[in-house]
Subunit: 196 residues, 2 copies
């Protein structure tokens, strides 16, 4: 698979010289995963930041009662990792699993530290995408506090229209923090309103 | 007030030369706020990143029903802002208000963009603190999903022991997303357990 979407993504934020691009490409690897395979399993150390070239993945947490809570989805042009595990290089609380056959560009932790030294503008790149990720996470905290489940679902559909067609409903319910029965009720009510 | 804690904080992450330190100090301002004053009001554009030299602040969101939801507290050596508003320079959804007389080191948005060019290692500094902030926000999402209110309160007490003594109980209830009556019940139960 062509790695061009990865380079195009970076170029939205920083301009790399041909020399810098070559250094970067020497440090990244493209890896294929099958549906059901894990990119990170909780308890292991998350060694890579992964950029999605193709596929769909979920990041989730399993609580003490064995209940799965989906923290985020990732599709083409998204990043995925257990960032807490990655930055501290300690065992992951989260797992990342493929919901479809997926193809990822991966950067190993050690290589990334080296890349920061060799291509300092990558500091800027990751600073900027982290800002966006932080704001999105904070927005989710606010929505969970202040929006009804119906409004959260409508916002989910607006923000991630492409994900909903690729992900089973019970996972969307998990992401929204509601039961799949309740999600089904919300969907029925919304479709009734649409028909009126 | 001495600005040294601000420089010490930065030095934990990056080493500045005396020249770089001088450039930085020309761009930051120390500002005092009285208890009750706002650093950011929702609807205004958040123009500054603020580092707390002294004091205590809350960052909060007011929902459509007029209900206040506390997103975070900030005390000495913490940063505060509506980061979403700051990075996009669009009107803030959040407000930041002083719970005590406070003294902040503030960096204006335009000055920070200039500083990134003049002192590229500040990119690294902000990348690293953003990583930590993102992981903390994600942890909060996970806890809200998977921990009981009692466990979330116990974790809050552990993580922020200094804040609890400075902040009224009803604000802690707002931060935890529960009523103050429920928080009061949790506190009674925990103190009974302690006495047993």
């Amino acid at each position: 698979m062509d790695i061009k979407p990865f380079l195009d993504y970076i170029k939205q934020y920083v301009e790399l010289t041909p020399g810098e691009e070559s250094i970067l490409l020497l440090k990244v690897k493209v890896r294929k995963y099958l549906k059901g395979q894990f990119v990170v399993q909780n308890g292991d150390i998350c060694r890579h930041e992964s950029f999605v070239l193709a596929g769909c993945l979920k990041t989730f947490y399993i609580d003490n009662e064995g209940q799965e809570h989906i923290i985020m989805f990732a599709i083409e042009n998204w990043w995925t990792a257990d960032l807490g595990s990655f930055i501290t290089q300690t065992p992951a609380d989260l797992s990342v699993q493929c919901l479809e056959n997926s193809e990822l560009v991966q950067i190993h932790y050690n290589d990334l530290q080296q890349l920061y030294l060799e291509i300092p503008k990558l500091e800027r790149f990751f600073r900027v995408i982290l800002q966006k990720a932080f704001v999105a996470a904070q927005k989710r905290i606010i929505n969970n506090f202040s929006l009804s489940a119906t409004k959260r679902y409508m916002q989910f559909r607006e923000q991630y229209p492409k994900i909903e067609q690729r992900v089973p409903q019970y996972m969307i319910a998990s992401y929204l923090g509601i039961t799949k029965e309740f999600l089904s009720k919300i969907r029925s009510l919304l479709s009734l309103q649409k028909d009126e």
